[in-house]
Amino acid sequence: MDPQRWLTDPVECGRAAGFGIYVHIPFCAHRCGYCDFATWDDRGHLVDRYVAALGREIDAAEDPGRAVTSIFVGGGTPTMLEPDVLAGLVQRLHDRFDVGMDAEVTVECNPETARPGLFEALVDAGVDRISMGMQSSAPGVLATLERQHSPEALPVAVALARAAGIRRLNVDLIFGTPGETADDWAGSLAAALALGPDHLSAYALTVHDNTRMGRDVAAGQLPAPDEDVQRSRWEVARETLAALGWEHYEVSNWARTPGERSRHNLIYWQHGDYLAFGVGAHGHLDGHRWWNHRSIERYCDDVEESARGVANEERLADDERAVERLMLGLRLQQGLHPADAPPIDPLALEDALAADLVQTACGRLQCTERGWFLLDDAVTRLLPETA
């Protein structure tokens, strides 16, 4: 490999990661208090119009002529849609792009929406992976998060998915919610594992200012998440899953075996390319980033008018690419190969090494165990002064 590939062929660096497609379904039965994504629980009347717009955007998109290695249908709650409508969208992507036989095709699912017929339709359309929004097994935590399902809904939903032939299962968890106890968290991990998943995502709850939860915290009605608690929850997850032989391959993600890693998310973390469809969706191609309108009405209007929903775009400058490469690449356990990484100031590197934030192992730059959960600090230290 060219030791200076980052400098000489930046596009090739990212291409190695594969090529993905993200589709956003913004509808929810209830918008959770912590949610700051493009989601709505009061736009049911726009479903048909939105699905039509999505189809139009997909059909009109330029095909870069590369084999699609992953599709991810996220939300919102994609499984709110009628099974045949959702399956139809996936089918449409297959029709429009060169989706490989072995491509990973994931659909996000909320347990309460699992119903007979849903997964069968998805499997028929080529979906092989479900990402189940479990978040917690503690009823109190689910209530704080305003999730709509009861813990009992999980095994039922998973059984339906497996019975329909879904081969790969991810379970999403959130830790460090105000009020969550250590036992709650241990119980959530155990309950998640009892579902027999192939992959686990566990994110520390982040409270954004512009959300209902953010306002509750600011008003003193809800305690802010405790960062020390979140750290120890993360460590518990690490230890529990390591004892079962799981691979902790990304700061918040675990795979039962290396083959079960999320190929789609790996594209993000490896600075790869992906198309994006739907309201608020973000795409990236060879250093060009763009994103669609965040207003569903505006998105529909624009797509109906011009078959495009793009709100804005940017072409990454070298220093911006460097920031992204570091902040994404160091999320991975394996870290970055020097050939694929921006040059790092030796003094900055020494500083981060001395602070036990990063290490060099197997010729790669990676976070230490301590530095992994202090990633933002590590990255800002490694960034050049001008960035």
């Binding site: 959960f373 202090l374 800002t380």
Partner: protein, 623 residues
């Protein structure tokens, strides 16, 4: 303009508290004497500087000459020249006030009939009595529903003597009774005395920088005559120049050829800095044969009382700040500055001020006129430190004076520390006497006297360390008396006190900007408050950071900022990488603005907030 005989001149000033209507009364006088065209009249006509008008206080004295013919009484029909000499209205400027009073023969004691006497009014009244002025008591705002004219008149008479019936009752707002005030000035205020033939002498009671004509020197002629073209000499500074312009204010400047005994006006004489013509100095002529040999009494160098470090937030602004301070000094000779360095704050200046208000005014002018964002260190006073003689070699001084806590030598080298004190006068409704006494005790005050002006109003006199006054004393006094108490003070002697320096250490390293000299009994309280505040203000870092307060090597308070254990933003949901990248870029940018102290990154805002709360006196009432 006809030359008035000296016995037709009346020089007077108005002694009043802020908001008691001084400027409104002056406005009415301008109208009654028909000096200002009614169409050109504006409120607070004489307060020229913006800052004065906004704050409602007069900083620089102005003066106005009003020709006046009484319509009634023994002087009816004759033309008089009434000179109103405006005085600054705040304790910080008591020396300037005393010089302006010395240029007068009489003073109107103007008191708000609803508010009653205030400490500041009493203090200035005493200065006026010291200057032997004829006092004309006047009750203002008698049209207000809350006016208590009889009671307030009794308060006034308690202080100046006489009969309550003699106190004039007016409304400067409506003009009611104002003509009577002017008539009484003509009647009661003595005409100036002065010898037209004696060597010329004039008292400088103000000097103001004018960008076009240089410094304008406001003065009152005592003896002799000054003419345009005269070569003059300022006796204290020795500065010599030639009179380019001689004028009186009516209230716009009117040029005159000469000014004789008893007259008030200003000169322009190509003077570049106000420090060359200081308030209280005596002007005479340069010609040795005609010059006066003796200065007018009472001149003294203005002495800063309160010191503070001013540091530009952006270190690149240091030269800009220096230029700004130099420019400010052109028209404010009472403020001093010298360069100073702080490990924590970089390059700045230690500045001396007459008082806290003076400090605020300078800060505000720097902000308003020069737009330089600043960090201001906690105000400090000037200490006299007597050193342990055994530790000194022959040439070392036995005593040093410091205004920056950092300059205090190690405790074992110090034998005594003396601090400035003030004589404070506090006027309060009698129901709050307990609260006021409690506050003064806490601030190490000694009760000197207590006087009931009426049954409801008490005058308390305390000796207090100046350091205890210059932080939040006034605020606390106000809040513990529902805003009713008023305060005035004058410098008194130095006193030996049990003082120590409290240092604040971050990760074991002292942060100079947070050092403070405080009484030993208050050291713990200050140290504890400071470390608690810093713990709250400094973001968690990669390692535990001890925050300590210490006297010498003894730690008196300690907190620990625990190492951060989480610093990772959530996922890039749905591939939104741009947002997270921008957040990180912002974080990186933020780090640049941090100061690195003892390998701890401290945000600039932490300094500003901590210095704002850092009151080294016996505070704590606000918490």
């Amino acid at each position: 303009m006809s030359k008035p005989p000296i016995d037709r001149i009346r020089n007077f000033c108005i002694v009043a508290h802020v908001d008691h209507g001084k400027s409104t009364l002056a406005d009415r006088m301008l109208q009654i004497t028909e000096l200002v065209d009614p169409r050109k009249m504006r409120d607070q006509y004489l307060d020229k500087m913006d800052i004065e008008r906004e704050r409602g206080i007069t900083i620089k004295a102005q003066t106005v000459r009003m020709p006046y013919r009484p319509k009634e009484g023994p002087h009816a029909g004759s033309e008089y020249l009434i000179n109103l000499i405006d005085t600054p209205g705040h304790v910080d400027f008591s020396y300037e006030v005393s010089r302006a009073l010395n240029a007068c023969e009489g003073a109107i004691l103007l008191v708000d009939a609803a508010q009653g006497m205030e400490a500041q009014t009493i203090a200035n009244l005493y200065l006026a009595l010291d200057a032997d002025l004829e006092i004309i008591p006047v009750l203002n705002k008698i049209d207000l529903p809350a006016a208590r004219p009889e009671e307030v008149a009794r308060e006034i008479v308690h202080l100046v003597g006489g009969d309550p019936a003699d106190v004039l009752a007016i409304s400067a707002k409506t003009g009611e009774g104002v003509r009577e005030v002017i008539d009484r000035i003509v009647e009661r205020v003595p005409a100036p005395s002065g010898d037209r033939e004696a060597p010329p002498r004039a008292l400088v009671f103000d000097s103001v920088f004018d960008p076009y004509r240089g410094v304008l020197v406001y003065f009152r002629v005592v003896d002799g005559t000054f003419r345009v073209g005269d070569k003059i000499r300022l006796m204290a500074t020795g500065f010599e120049s030639e009179i380019d312009e001689l004028a009186v204010l009516m209230p716009e400047p009117v040029q005159v050829k000469e000014l004789g005994p008893g007259e008030v006006g200003f000169i322009a004489a190509s003077i570049k800095e106000v420090s060359q013509a200081k308030v209280g100095d005596t002007i005479t002529v340069a010609d040795k044969k005609r010059a006066a040999t003796e200065q007018l009494p009472g001149y003294r160098e203005p002495l800063p009382m309160v010191y503070s470090g001013l540091y530009p937030i952006d270190s690149d602004d240091f030269p800009v700040l220096r230029d700004a301070l130099e420019k400010l000094q052109l028209n404010d000779s009472s403020f001093t500055f010298e360069p100073e360095t702080s490990v924590a704050l970089g390059f700045g200046f230690r500045c001396g001020f007459l008082g806290l208000l003076h400090l605020e005014i300078v800060q505000e002018r720097l902000d308003r006129e020069f737009d330089i964002p600043l960090v201001t260190t906690s105000p400090s006073v000037r200490y006299r430190v007597e050193l342990e003689t055994e530790k000194l070699s022959g040439d070392d001084p036995h005593e040093i004076t410091i205004s920056n806590p950092q300059d205090l030598p190690e405790p074992n080298k110090v034998s005594r520390i003396l601090e400035p004190t003030v004589k404070a006068m506090i006027l309060t409704p009698s129901e709050y006497v307990g609260a006021v006494m409690q506050l003064c005790e806490k601030r190490r005050g000694t009760l000197l006297a207590m006087d009931y002006l009426t049954e409801e109003r008490v005058e308390l006199r305390y000796r207090l360390p100046l350091a205890e006054i210059i932080t939040d004393f006034f605020d606390v006094l106000k809040s513990s008396t529902r805003g009713y108490a008023s305060l005035d003070y004058e410098p008194d002697d130095m006193q030996a006190s049990n003082l120590v320096r409290v240092d604040v250490l971050l990760n074991g390293e002292p942060v100079d900007a947070f050092s403070a000299i405080t009484h030993r009994d208050h050291a713990y309280e200050y140290g504890k408050a400071m470390v608690a505040k810093l713990k709250e203000l400094i973001p968690r870092q990669l390692f535990d950071i001890p925050v300590q307060a210490a006297i010498g090597s003894r730690i008196i308070a300690r907190e620990t900022i625990k190492a951060k254990r989480k610093d990772v933003l959530a996922k890039c949901y749905g591939g939104d990488v741009s947002r997270k990248r921008k957040l990180l870029e912002k974080q990186k940018e933020g780090k640049k603005r941090m100061k690195n102290l003892g390998s701890v990154e401290v945000p600039q805002e932490a300094f500003i907030s901590a210095l704002r709360v850092g009151s080294p006196s016996g505070g704590g009432e606000k918490s």
